[in-house]
């Protein structure tokens, strides 16, 4: 035989065909978990409705801000403060989404980076020259910047009125920050209407698949924003001492817990499928975990462990005061125990859930762990 290799390649191709074809006749598709449906449920019942309501709330905030800027009264300020809070709370429901247009526009960075940089804001007000698209200005816009502008640490609204009434530049800055927020939000929400279908269709297993991305986003949000940002950093977990001025909505004084409540509720809802627009029997991370545990034959009951841990965190959150900053200063132990409860779920999700879901962290060659 003069050309054994050609002969071998032919056999190999034939064998591969036989393997593939025999598999074809055995269609098991019905047994599979419908990942496309999972994505579709998340888009239809969480992302889209939550974004739409958030956009409405931001529009309301914009109206209130316009009223206040035109007529600096304490009544208009009250109204502005409550619109700000309402929109900020809606934001908590979408902050874990960082995929597609949201990621492209860096919406999270432009909406909720805190602590805000008061000096930079004052500087901007003085020069009247700023570009909100620059990363260096992430700390001078969004809800934290508005928080700084419309609240006074003393809690005295008259101080705020005094600051705005004879300061056109401050009024302009407030309008501009709100306008940027409205414009960023509408671009993203608008884009999601068309992005939605490719989000749902991208149900593959690659590192760029929607599920992979979504799980990574959710964990990143939970670990960095909720656990660390809202609780751990102010409680001094990552520093030598407590940093009570680093709470979310610091200048409003007593809204930090309310926002955290909302954030935790949203994180739980996103996990267990009681989405923003709740319906019965929606697919969720929880049902996906249940399905995968069934496949791999383990009975850890991971989804329930995570839910129980969320309950514990909720319980501990109930025990802290409305003003997290004050809580840190007066009795930080309560904050630390809340942190511990949140932390335990980082372990369940980053270790057990990631393993079960086969989520890829990076694209690099591997030959097993």
């Amino acid at each position: 035989m003069r050309n054994p290799l050609r002969y071998l390649i032919a056999i190999a191709c034939l064998a591969i065909c036989i393997v593939s074809c025999s598999d074809d006749s055995n269609d098991q598709a019905q047994d599979q978990y419908d990942r496309g449906q999972l994505l579709s449920d998340i888009a239809e019942f969480h992302i889209i409705p939550a974004y739409q309501d958030y956009l409405i709330a931001v529009a309301q905030l914009s109206e209130s801000a316009a009223d206040f800027v035109n007529d600096v009264t304490s009544e208009n300020l009250d109204d502005l403060q409550s619109s700000w809070l309402a929109a900020y709370k809606k934001w908590q429901w979408v902050e874990m989404i960082n995929i597609g247009p949201t990621e492209e526009l860096a919406l999270i960075n432009k909406t909720n980076i805190y602590p805000t940089d008061a000096n930079l804001i004052e500087e901007h007000i003085l020069n009247g020259n700023y570009n909100f698209d620059l990363p260096s200005n992430f700390v001078a816009q969004g809800f934290p910047a508005i928080d700084y502008l419309i609240h006074d640490l003393s809690g005295d609204n008259q101080m705020v009125i005094a600051r705005f009434s004879d300061n056109l530049a401050a009024r302009t800055y407030l309008s501009d920050v709100v306008a940027a927020l409205v414009s960023n939000t509408s671009i993203v929400v608008e884009a999601w209407n068309s992005y939605r279908s490719s989000f749902v269709e991208n149900d593959g297993s690659s590192a760029t698949g929607s599920i992979n991305k979504l799980v990574n986003d959710y964990l990143f949000y939970y670990e960095k924003y909720l656990r660390a940002g809202k609780v751990g950093i102010p409680a001094g977990v990552f520093s030598n001492s407590t940093l009570s001025e680093k709470v979310e909505a610091y200048y409003s004084q007593d809204k930090s817990k309310e926002l955290l409540q909302e954030g935790l509720r949203a994180a739980v809802a996103f996990f267990n499928g009681s989405y923003y627009s709740a319906r019965q029997d929606l697919l969720s991370f929880q049902t996906y975990i249940q399905y995968l545990e069934g496949l791999s034959g383990n009975d850890n009951g991971l989804d329930q462990l995570i839910i129980n841990q969320f309950d514990l965190a909720q319980e501990r959150l109930d025990a802290v005061s409305d003003n997290l900053s004050e809580q840190v200063d007066s009795d930080n132990a309560k904050m630390l125990s809340l942190y511990d409860a949140l932390q335990q779920n980082v372990i369940y999700m980053k270790v057990d859930m990631l393993q079960l879901m086969n989520i890829k962290v990076d694209y690099v060659d591997a030959d097993g762990d």
Binding site: L8, I16, L302, V351, D352, D362, Y363, G368
Partner: protein, 451 residues
């Protein structure tokens, strides 16, 4: 003459060795281009602030922007190996530059990189540039159609060791009785056309586990035994294509497919080389001079045999060193590397480091991503030696910043093959005081298996 001396004097066609050299060089060149094209040089060697070293080799570090030059040298050397141009210089350069690359950061350890280093090392001592090479073409007096038989056998033996040991490593209860970790991995490819649904079936997980193990332990023998060789090679192709489709395993499958060609007899390689010569428009006649390269009785030749012989003995023993350590190998990973444990376990871990002032008890946690890439963090979290090295890095870093009485602790949890996470490293041990060594790390907590 005794049997050994007779064996050493035997010669065989040089074609298999030359073909192996050619494809080895070619695949290395492709691998290096692929590595660079993915942006991995920057991602893995330039961007990270810190790199994990092998014990005793902490001086081997990435060279900043010069790292690109290092890869370039390695690439040029692999092309020279492929063409057989200044062969000895080329293979030594390749071996040194490739090893340097692999030793720069432990994070990227892969068994197939180790395999390449080993093959390159053996190749330094083989007459692989005596046939079908530029060297032989230019200097006919250095061209030999026949080379000592052992030079081909040693490659077959090495490839056989890789497979066989990889198979033996699969003989553990998780793999055989629970079909783990394939039960976790295979459903991850649910979106493959045709077979995606099958990959969620339990019997498929068991079938793949058992077939994989049987393939690994038997394939060296089936390739070696002439009547089964062709069928075995078909098996090699199918097996490696499957692994390529299912796992992010890079160039490894192609390297092993070409490596397995060494088991074939000379006519196969002569046929391949003949085809290549037609593409290159040169005649094979120039190489087929009938000359035999005999084993010389020079002391250099003897030394070479002793060296390669000892090297093979080390290869046979090294994978067993884990027996010297107490505890579960997959959990402690003491003696895990350099042992052909490929695609063997699913381990995920989480490590949160705490820096403490031993006197004031003041403490704070570390955000790993401030110091490590996501890939480094992932690898470090589950490997105790890397945890220790990182703890020392943190200790040095914060001491250097003026922190006093620095102690470094870690809260870590790991999950092995789908078991619920459990504490991994003793959280009460100040790792900054622990030194790396080949001794057992007694600060790794015991692995608790539920049954």
């Amino acid at each position: 003459m005794n049997t050994f001396q007779r064996y050493i004097q035997q010669t065989t066609k040089a074609a298999p060795l030359a073909a192996f050299r050619f494809f080895f060089g070619l695949l290395m060149a492709i691998s290096l281009i692929r590595f660079a094209a993915h942006g991995w040089i920057e991602k893995l060697y330039i961007l990270p602030k810190f790199h994990f070293s092998y014990y005793g080799l902490s001086w081997v570090k990435p060279l900043g922007d010069w790292t690109y030059l290092l890869f370039m040298v390695c690439f040029i050397a692999s092309i020279a190996v492929m063409l057989g141009y200044k062969y000895r210089l080329a293979i030594i350069t390749f071996f040194l530059s490739f090893c340097y690359i692999e030793l720069m950061d432990k994070t990227t350890y892969l068994n197939h990189y180790y395999f390449i280093s080993i093959i390159a090392f053996i190749f330094i001592f083989l007459p692989a540039g005596k046939y079908f090479s530029i060297d032989a073409y230019l200097k006919p007096e250095r061209c030999f159609q026949y080379v000592p038989r052992w030079t081909k056998d040693i490659l077959m033996l090495m490839v056989g060791i890789v497979y066989f040991y990889a198979g033996v490593a699969k003989l553990n209860s998780d793999w055989m009785l629970e079909a783990l970790p394939l039960k976790i991995w295979l459903p991850g490819s649910y979106d493959l056309p045709l077979i995606g649904g099958l990959l969620e079936q339990s019997w498929v997980h068991y079938a793949f586990s058992w077939a994989g193990m049987l393939y690994d332990v038997s394939i060296p023998f089936l390739l070696w035994y002439k009547p089964t060789r062709k069928l075995a090679f078909v098996g090699v192709i199918i097996f490696h294509i499957m692994t390529r489709v299912l796992f992010p395993i890079g160039m490894f499958p192609f390297i092993m497919i070409f490596a397995a060609l060494i088991f074939f007899d000379a006519p196969t390689h002569e046929w391949i080389l003949d085809k290549l010569s037609r593409i290159g428009r040169f005649s094979m006649d120039r190489f087929n001079n009938g000359k035999r390269l005999l084993h010389s009785s020079l002391s250099w030749s003897k030394a070479r045999l002793v060296l390669l012989g000892s090297f093979l003995v080390i290869q046979l023993l090294l994978p067993w060193r884990y027996l010297l350590y107490p505890g579960n190998l997959f959990w402690t990973e003491e003696g895990y590397r350099f042992s052909w444990r490929v695609m063997l376990m699913e381990k995920t871990a989480y490590a949160q480091f705490k820096v403490k002032n031993g006197q004031t008890q003041e403490q704070f946690y570390i955000n790993n991503r401030d110091f490590l890439s996501s890939f480094q963090e992932k690898q470090m979290s589950m490997q105790p030696d890397m945890i220790l090295e990182y703890a020392h890095y943190l200790g040095d870093h914060f001491s250097g910043q003026g922190h006093q009485n620095v102690e470094v602790y870690v809260d870590s949890y790991a999950s092995l093959n789908g078991r619920i996470n459990q504490p991994f490293i003793d959280p009460d041990v100040d790792l900054y005081q622990k030194q790396e060594s080949f001794l057992h790390k007694d600060w790794i907590l015991k692995f608790k298996d539920e049954d």
